[in-house]
Symmetry: D2
Subunit: 295 residues, 4 copies
């Protein structure tokens, strides 16, 4: 069983993660992890913070001579801007008065955090509730990605919409209609979207989105969006119907919903299915001649 | 920590559940649980199975003289139709040849089940993947409901749509706009929807839905739908941003998505937020005079 | 991952257990489980309770036609004496006054149980703290035993001493000196000890023990004892040094110490090693010619 | 629920630990942790390694201005000797040939480690199976110690014997006979034993032990020993008889047995009880007048 924990405040010394239970003898390098950390940071409209830091993971344990040892893999992502925060985020008590944050932002854990954990400075709460935590999760997830790759499983994603601007070409629909070639690799969709500054698949859509972002920014506002994640090469029988907590759909929903700001998850066509007939919703099972031989 | 397991095949002797870690000295009765089991079964268009059985939970342990003991609460829901299934679902090996199910249904775990668990009879798979398992979960969940009631927390639900037929009056919208009275109890919404045979809140909508169900049935087809669940009385600070697996939204998404046939989950306005500006999405934080005194 | 929960009060309707995560297609029968339940009950000096009940496990789910389904295996062990307890252990509240237990026994969970769970009747506590719970654990453990058997792993045990009366022939010493034949099966040690009414390996020791038990009984007293458990056929590499909670020794210590009245656990020579030199304690590693070929 | 993971190879860059689920607003400082790390390292006959390193924990997250944040506490213990190991323990693959360890030590995880994890260099296994991992556990445990202190619970320990040399004065016996003053604090026993270079309570015993250690060392041999750990201030009702995995004795046995080289655990008098009558083993329950008032 692979398990992991992350730790770290947004402006603290460093984020850390420990990934426990990972198999031995798999190739892992810091550059492989940093490549994913970089993907997390790039893109149009990223905040000042993202520009200051170029996150680098330092592997502290679990890897020797480029291969995993089976022992826990710990990683450190230093805060590149720590020098400017060492007083305000000091681990030790300090004599100086520091400025407290006292106005809670709506749509954030600010108010609930100080209520639950009994703080008089909202910073104590937002430093951990910040989405910066996901950098450590990306590092941990990249370790998992490595294992999946060994089995030919790749995971890809793209941004479907931002501010209600959707693509002309509905890739998702094609996917659900099985009109995607059998040899389609999820990796290819990330390769394509990574070239867009807003991770969409169409350049016209990208332009419209950037215009909308600029306009929202001018008004001091923000936009929402949707993204699609797809995995290919997945073997039949991952997850199980045996108990409520072994279901793959449920685990996926949990993981996606645990990302900051995500408020909805669909598997496949999701809510669209609610308005369809059963006959339109189910994938027909077709016996393919020679399928076993070919695969 | 409260944990539970369920067991039982759809046409087996009985479903069972063990709820472990529940506090002592809370009032629990079989009739309290049976009331929820009944709610699970009633309604228009329920299958033949639902009509045969009126599920009754028999408490086997963990309760004495009507109060919980702190020890594990085990419950048994017998299969009322077991007599007719004792050969086909025999625990012991039998000499007789029995009919195997060999045609997998689309949209079900039939094919993946026999592949994963290596069966030559689809029945071996569908008996557990069947939604009948949720009867045991309702029994377990009713124990949890009892604990919540002690804290004044109630949970209510209604069917928002079936086959794309939505209500005139958008209750969800009211809820998200905070135009629901402060003393609104989630229980009241269940009390109302329980009176409808399809658990909707409006009678005209109910009629339309029933017509559509009838028509779909005539064509050998089925319909999808959406439901809304709301909790009131919930204290500030349930769940936490501390790690990915302590987030309340993620846990809720997991639980809902683990129900058979559910393919999408939204928290609050969910996907609607993806097309809104931030300024429209966040709930403004307002300091109410005398709020602490009143509450 | 295999996990299980047990439930049930000592004089309640029934004990139950759910074993989740067990593989499919393994042969399991009630008689196989009952054989182990019987082993738990036999022997000299067993209490009245043991004689009243001959525990029988009823498999309620997870097994069809004599083979496991991969789905949770639930079992029921009815209280054969329930008829006489249905008022005193009624699940429902009753109108009648019943006698409460108010004198806590030393060396039991009586006092701490009523303190922790806030009861005014010690029975509410002792019904679960009773060692009768281990009947459900034997049923669950027998399922696990079946899986081990598939891999040629057997587990055997015998009583080493009761009341300080040890055997002439120190089997344990032989075992630790590697003077047991390589093809020794742990099963054989249980087969032998099962023939003794106090599960020892020597008849003279048995006689002495029975005399001491009789004498203690006459004085209203009880005796302690020690037992040895051994497994053979175990593959190299079970457990791991990777983290504190993956260590096999630690897991074994946990399981053994969780049995009622057990207050000490040793792995191998245990405390004897504390007084030995390292050179006497470690098993020399010897390269055997042709070992790989033969095995 | 508090949980933790440790990571780190014995000669790697650093050991790390993440302690998750710890409450907010408790005072924690690096010096408090380092004091415990120092206790782990001092004493007669410690290896060269112990002398090279004076372990220091660096808190990376979870603490601000000297108080816990409720967020995960991560700590880093750098390998002071890393400079000399950076090639041999390089995370990156290196071009140079390095010396492999090929002779497995008896009584260690060397052979089983390379078998389980498929290595051709025993170093890959021993770097994690090394007892150095316990430094990270001490850091994590010190966080837990802080919480216990808030409730007046202290934990103390001393070495009872080394090489079979026991003290004149049997402190354990006094403890079990309840002839220790009621206001005895476990901390006091550590305070005393910490003054001895072998952590015993009697100076004559200490001298004998040191002579025996010297003699064993001369012969290239090692000695075993026993230690006693006691907690005071523990509230009634920690742990529970509710299920096999909620029992305090079992948890303690697990934790102690998970420490490298520990092969036996006793609760209270442990194996001594096996040879005693029940009447000698149980602590009589005595009702003390005014006990509630005084406490």
């Amino acid at each position: 069983m692979i398990r992991f924990l992350t730790a770290g405040e947004s402006h603290g010394k460093a984020l850390t993660t420990i990934v426990d239970g990972f198999p031995s003898n798999l190739k892992i390098s810091e550059s492989y992890i940093n490549q994913q950390l970089k993907r997390r940071q790039f893109g149009y409209g990223r905040g000042l913070r993202m520009r200051i830091e170029t996150d680098k993971a330092e592997i502290l344990s679990g890897v020797r001579f480029g291969k995993t040892l089976g022992s826990p893999i710990s990683m450190l992502i230093r805060n590149a801007d720590w020098e400017n925060w060492q007083t305000l985020m000091s681990v030790d008590s300090i004599n100086k008065k520091t400025q407290k944050i006292s106005i809670p932002r709506p749509g954030h854990a600010d108010l609930v955090g100080v209520s639950k954990y009994n703080f008089n400075d909202i910073r104590n709460s937002i430093e951990r509730s910040s989405a910066r935590e996901t950098a450590a999760r990306v590092a941990a997830g990249t370790i998992a990605r490595k294992l999946l790759e060994e089995f030919g499983i790749t995971i890809g994603s793209y941004v479907e919409s931002i501010g209600g601007i959707y693509p002309e070409n509905n890739f998702a629909e094609k996917l659900f209609n099985n009109s995607i070639p059998l040899n389609f690799s999820a990796q290819s969709i990330s390769d394509k979207s990574d070239k867009s500054s807003v991770r969409v698949l169409e350049s016209e859509q990208e332009e419209k989105i950037i215009r909308k972002i600029k306009s929202a920014k001018k008004n001091g506002d923000t936009l929402g969006g949707t993204f699609l994640t797809v995995a290919t090469g997945v073997p039949v029988g991952l997850g199980s119907f045996i108990n409520y907590d072994t279901k793959l759909d449920a685990d996926i929903a949990h993981s996606i919903m645990s990302i900051n700001a995500v408020k909805a998850v669909e598997i496949g066509e999701g809510f669209l299915l609610a308005e369809k007939f059963g006959s339109e919703s189910h994938d027909e099972i077709v016996m393919k001649k020679d399928f076993i031989q070919k695969n």
